[in-house]
């Protein structure tokens, strides 16, 4: 699992690739917390999942955890680019009702107010 966190023009980007499963959830939490606690002020967070090829309930739980954490600071989280198989997991778990999901990162950026 590769995780890249960066800030561009007050938008936070988390780029994920590989399998987002129970085995890498702690790594995601650690990397996110390190980056988030560095203190960059962000108004929106976009999670680019274009490289995520599989996902389970723990991975989904980690995303919900991140969403809750950033929501404490009134930051809106958006999901961009879901592969077909990952989209199916969002669909059957009804996670699509919780997250704002966009087909491309540009669309997600465009939706940031």
């Amino acid at each position: 699992m590769e995780i890249k966190c960066e800030t561009k023009e007050s938008i936070g980007f988390i780029t994920l690739s590989g399998a987002l499963t129970a085995g890498v959830v702690d790594l995601l939490h650690d990397q996110f917390n390190n980056w988030h606690s560095d203190g960059d002020e962000i108004a929106n967070l976009i999670v680019d999942m274009g490289g995520v090829d599989s996902m389970d309930s723990s991975g989904l739980g980690a995303l919900i955890g991140i969403m809750k954490k950033v929501a404490e600071n009134d930051v809106e989280m958006k999901i961009a680019v879901l592969q077909d198989k990952t989209r199916l997991v969002f669909e059957i778990t009804r996670a699509y009702k919780i997250f704002d999901i966009f087909d491309t990162v540009d669309e997600a950026v465009g939706a940031c107010a």
Binding site: L88, V89, E91, R94
Partner: protein, 468 residues
């Protein structure tokens, strides 16, 4: 009139569902095979011959003697690479009074006009698509034309029979959905009827008052539906299915033994254990997460464990008996540098094994004949059985291109020290024979069969030594 049902070959699409063998896939709430048997009954056929290859044990366990349908079923085993119609041509006189031949996943769709009496008067029918076919021939001429390959399309819709070839999981989904939407009425045996509210609920299925059932729905036997779930419309649920709380499902097929987690939304999907298939977008996916999807039936491990224990118990005294002769007889070849060769083997769980064994010399002398005759060449492999890296008996473990191809084709693979080919003369070991042996082993494997194969191998080697 007689029937020949060919259940050899495995179409690709049922593999995406990780479903039961395709002839046992439930269309509505009954396996495809059962619809074939009912067609036989409607045609007035009593003698049915089933020619199988893969899934032989499952098919035989399901259909048994055929007495449940008033049929007399005989079973045959088809070797790979043999033309399926060769079996028919071998004894043409057997089919002179008429033949029903089904090959591949063909569903005998009944249209609204279907009438069993009209079917009895049907002179002939041939549907042939993608190698799957359903053929009915009543006259001797049509049968012999079929056997010669000269029979052309003789479709007729007078009987209301319109066979449909299932060439994808989406075809299977569509057909099953048609069933739940009302077509299942056409397949009922005389004397039965579906309740007017279009809810079919099997025996010993528990549905709490807070669960909502929206017809049309088919739920199988021994299912557990939890509180606040919504099932239907157009949901087909198999046997032994557990649906956890607050889950909603419609337009879906849930195959036997599946578990659906809490708060899920299953729409336009086929689920078989942890496998999910999206019928709309034709995407299959395995979700090995017991919180979301899972299986309620434990994997059959007991037989395999018993076989592994038997193999280990045979390997232990074998290794103990071999250790001294191996040490003595391997000294001479070992001192010459070229006497060892590295082997690459498939191990259990896909692990690659690499170690050195004594090489077969170009001109084996008496000493090597003795070494080989006493089966001491397998000693390094037997040690790997003791450490759980190989099976004692099973499939050839050698990492070769041909074995790799065969391994990918086999539904389960047991890399082993001894396989059937090891107890056969070299002239009998052809690629076709290896393939047939490999599939046969999957069907016949048992601790007893392993024991038989082991002793057969030892006796073959000793005989070989004696002959030399």
């Amino acid at each position: 009139m007689k029937a020949l049902l060919h259940i050899s070959g495995s179409p690709e699409w049922p593999k995406t569902l990780n479903a039961p063998p395709w002839p046992l896939l439930p269309i509505g709430n009954r396996p495809l095979l059962e619809y074939w048997f009912e067609l036989c009954v409607d045609l007035g056929i009593e003698d049915v011959q089933i020619v199988m290859n893969d899934f032989a044990s499952e098919i035989e366990a399901y259909a048994e003697s055929g007495a449940r349908w008033g049929l007399k079923i005989q079973y045959g085993f088809e070797k790979d690479g043999v033309d399926p119609t060769a079996h028919l041509r071998r004894s043409p006189s057997k089919w002179e009074n008429g033949l029903l031949h089904i090959r591949g996943p063909v569903f005998p769709v009944r249209t609204e006009a279907y009438c069993a009496d009209a079917l009895k008067a049907l002179s002939g029918l041939l549907v042939d698509q993608d190698g799957s076919r359903l053929m009915i021939a009543r006259s001797k001429e049509d049968v012999s034309a079929y056997l010669d390959g000269t029979l052309k399309d003789i479709r007729t819709d007078l009987s209301g029979l319109a066979p449909s070839v299932l060439s994808s999981a989406s075809d299977f989904f569509r057909l099953t959905q048609n069933m739940v939407e009302g077509e299942s009425q056409r397949y009922l045996t005389s004397g039965y009827q579906i309740t007017s509210d279009k809810c079919l609920i099997g025996a010993n299925t528990v549905i709490p008052p807070t669960a909502k059932i929206l017809p049309p729905v088919m739920i199988g036997d021994n299912c557990r539906v939890s509180e606040l779930t919504t099932i239907g419309p157009n949901a087909v649920i198999g046997n032994y299915v557990v649906i956890d709380q607050k889950t909603e499902m419609d337009n879906c097929i849930i195959l036997d033994g599946s578990y659906i987690g809490q708060n899920m939304e299953i729409r336009n999907k086929i689920i078989s254990g942890s496998h999910l298939y999206d019928a709309e977008n034709e995407i299959g996916l395995n979700i090995p997460d017991p919180w979301l999807l899972g299986s309620t039936t434990p994997a059959k491990r007991s037989d395999e464990s018993l076989r592994a224990i038997t193999g280990w118990l045979i390997a232990l005294p074998t290794a103990m008996l071999m250790v001294v002769p191996y040490a003595v007889l391997s000294i001479l070849p070992r001192v010459t540098r070229n006497a060892l060769e590295r082997v690459n083997l498939h191990g259990i769980n896909g692990k690659e094994l690499r170690y050195k064994v004594i090489k077969t010399p170009a001109n084996p002398g008496v000493l090597f004949e003795l070494f080989h005759g006493l089966s001491l060449d397998i000693f390094p492999h037997v040690l790997r059985v003791l450490t759980g890296k190989l099976w004692l008996c099973g499939h050839s473990a050698l990492l070769q291109k041909e074995n790799e191809e065969l391994k990918n084709e086999l539904p389960v693979y047991f890399p082993a020290v001894i396989c059937y080919e090891d107890a056969q003369s070299k002239s009998d070991v052809t690629p076709a024979a290896i393939r047939a042996n490999s599939f046969y082993y999957i069907e016949a494997r048992s601790p007893l069969e392993d024991l038989r194969l082991f002793f057969r191998f030892i006796i073959y080697r000793l005989n070989f030594l004696w002959a030399e």
